[in-house]
Symmetry: C2
Subunit: 421 residues, 2 copies
């Protein structure tokens, strides 16, 4: 990587290095291209695809094809003129302005940290062994395979208690991912039972466990209450104020001593910064990198931190900007604009977060949505969710693929092939 | 499984047990349903899906979605009234007429052996470690991931020799699977290079190695010669009369001492009977179970053996019926009809194999086809291949999915997301 790490050869244009191809990093790279910034832009990502995480729970429940939510980044790289390298980042040398990767060192003039977050099991015993999280594409495929596997095994078991255990699906964490997964798992299993003669509906259960006193902590009361109402009505057992002490082969142990028997534990209860971020000698707030109103790291104005790994204060409310795909895109887009302005000697304005509202899909034909001047639940919330998510998908292949999957699943079937990857 | 293994409880209808949900086994089960045979039909399969193997090489090269060639069997089970159990078969007790599975024993009155074949590396050193075969869905995904991985790694390597090694793709075995895979790998990589700036076309190579003196041994001279001509013209290096001595980390060693340097070895050179078949005390021919003209095992008229694991003589020619999807479907269908006739006291005629011709797709818009009164190559052969394969797919989901994939790939892109499963 001699050419890339030699600063002298690139005097005319600044070297912008973006780490991560999630919503924040990809938005930065694309915006820099659109603005024709005076920069040589390089993006390093662990994978050569951008994962459309809002549909991850649907990949886990046979509603969309996993490959349809893995959006290839290379076509975007060609279109917007940035270089994509697939590789692991092992360290950032802030003083030397160099990033160490699995394929060599890369020097930068500006660095955009956007490598997201990882699953956090809070050190609770047994979670890493017995629970499946939902952060990556392989995670979604593991959950999908696990659900089918449990049904197949339930079919050939005669012990009723064991069968019931196999047909109990427990989701830990009542945040956005957890409630959407719970709603979709319920629909998926209920639909599947048609093809599993001998397994009755009253033998299966979906349990959603939340530590706090309401679902969707951090979101509005409307969203929380509507979600509770809708999920309860669909037969999902919601356990609030419930602390998980341990996950075992046999089930989930709650703090009161109660054991919820299950062979299927799905974990959506928390995220944390990746180790790389932990190791960086930068100011943090609860593990996330603290940035100023220009999304820059204090004392290192050449480093931007955005997305899940950044702690950003909302200029208007003073509260923390939520760690959502929506805000990650806004932050990445803003950094792209800001950098292109800086590089052409123009001034920049502080980042202002725009809360565009919130939507959740909670099962077949039922969702909930809240915008500034408008809120709705039920069928219309669900329809809105679908329309807006289709609009948010940026590649043609993924968009058409998801439309195909939804259309097919709506009129016909979800995918229940037991493909272990 | 008390109810299933107790013969006395099923006096009225015969218990037909089918092992394997490949082309042969599934065709048997469906035909028994269509004929409304007086039978209680149970199918045991390792996976709850039927793999449409003729498109496996396309899943390996991003042309179709892996999930689209995994056809769910449960909807067919419901429609045609058979019971599907997912599980492993460990042994067949021929005297006790019982099959031992991972979930218990199953008794039968009639047994249909249709568990197919496995990859055969002929004990050649290094093949199992360094080569990827193409028999299962995970195999196809491994090849797909390997191709992308090699391109990604080639992009960040400066050593030209290593880069060339990463961009050399070697397919061992010039049978039907090998030639189709070679043609598709060539198109896939050539297409991908557009999105990998810095990797040049003259750096990549596809090599096809065949032990015999011509491609497609066993098929007609027309197919063999046309295939050779087409693949050569597309830049694929074909090495005939070449014996592989060893597969290593560095490449493929031929008997003459030549080393073909490559980091990508794909193995399509042979199949063998599964261990379960080896262990059965039945008459075999070159490892395959010998059957009479009614596809029954000698001295055990209650056992049928069909598909890849059976050695069947063509009544008309005296030659062995080829081990193809086409013949497997014919055999399964025939057994379904024969059994339903036997069970209602009617006579059966011997199995007669109908050679319906042969087709190969060798790359974008080029194929070769040969039927009894008609043969063609080039664009028309390719188009015919596509139309007929769409017709052969039996489930709506897979059929629409493949049409979607082909349409999209034709006009736009193949899938090159580096999704490791």
């Amino acid at each position: 990587m001699q050419t890339l790490s030699d600063p002298d050869s690139r005097l005319s244009t600044a070297r912008v290095l973006i780490l991560g191809a999630g919503f924040a990093g990809l938005a930065t790279a694309i915006r820099l291209g659109k603005e024709r910034a005076k920069a040589q832009v390089t993006l390093v990502s662990r994978r050569n695809y951008h994962l459309f995480t809002p549909l991850l729970y649907q990949a886990a429940t046979g509603l969309v094809d996993p490959d349809h939510i893995a959006q290839m980044v290379r076509p975007a790289a060609r279109k917007y003129g940035f270089t994509l390298f697939e590789g692991e980042v092992s360290n950032v040398d802030i003083d030397a302005k160099t990033v160490q990767t699995s394929f060599g060192d890369l020097a930068y003039d500006y660095l955009v940290l956007a490598i997201g977050s990882e699953t956090n099991d809070f050190g609770i015993r047994g979670v890493s062994e017995h629970a499946i999280s939902l952060k990556t594409l392989p995670d979604a495929e593991r959950i999908h395979s696990k659900i089918i596997d449990s049904l197949e095994r339930a079919l050939v078991i005669s012990d009723q208690a064991k069968r019931k255990r196999l047909l109990a699906f427990v989701i830990i964490g009542g945040g956005a991912t957890g409630v959407e997964l719970a709603g979709s798992v319920r629909d998926f299993v209920k639909f599947l039972l048609n093809d599993y003669p001998g397994l009755a509906e009253d033998q299966f259960s979906v349990v959603l466990i939340e530590l706090m006193q309401n679902l969707l902590p951090g979101l509005s009361r409307y969203l929380s209450e509507q979600t509770y109402r809708i999920l309860s009505k669909r037969g999902i057992q919601i356990r609030l104020n419930s602390r998980v002490m341990e996950a075992t082969d046999g089930g989930v142990l709650l703090s009161g001593g109660e054991l919820i028997e299950t062979g299927n534990i799905f974990w959506t209860a928390g995220t944390k910064s990746p180790k790389l971020v932990d190791n960086l000698d930068l100011e943090k707030e609860r593990g996330r990198i603290k940035v100023d109103q220009f999304l820059r790291v204090r004392e290192h104005p050449e480093i931007f931190a955005i997305g899940d790994l950044a702690s950003i204060s909302d200029l208007k409310t003073g509260e923390k900007v939520p760690w959502t795909a929506q805000s990650a895109v806004q932050e990445g887009d803003w950094v792209g604009i800001a950098l292109s302005r800086v590089l052409s000697g123009r001034k920049i304005e502080p980042f202002v977060y725009q809360d565009k509202g919130y939507m959740l899909s909670l099962g077949r034909q039922v969702g909930v949505a809240e915008f500034r001047h408008f809120k709705t639940s039920g069928f219309f919330g669900w329809l809105l969710w679908r329309i807006i998510h289709i609009a948010l998908i940026t590649t043609t292949r993924s968009r058409l693929g998801v439309i195909f999957d939804w259309t097919f699943a709506y009129f016909y079937k979800r995918n229940a092939a037991h493909t272990e990857h």
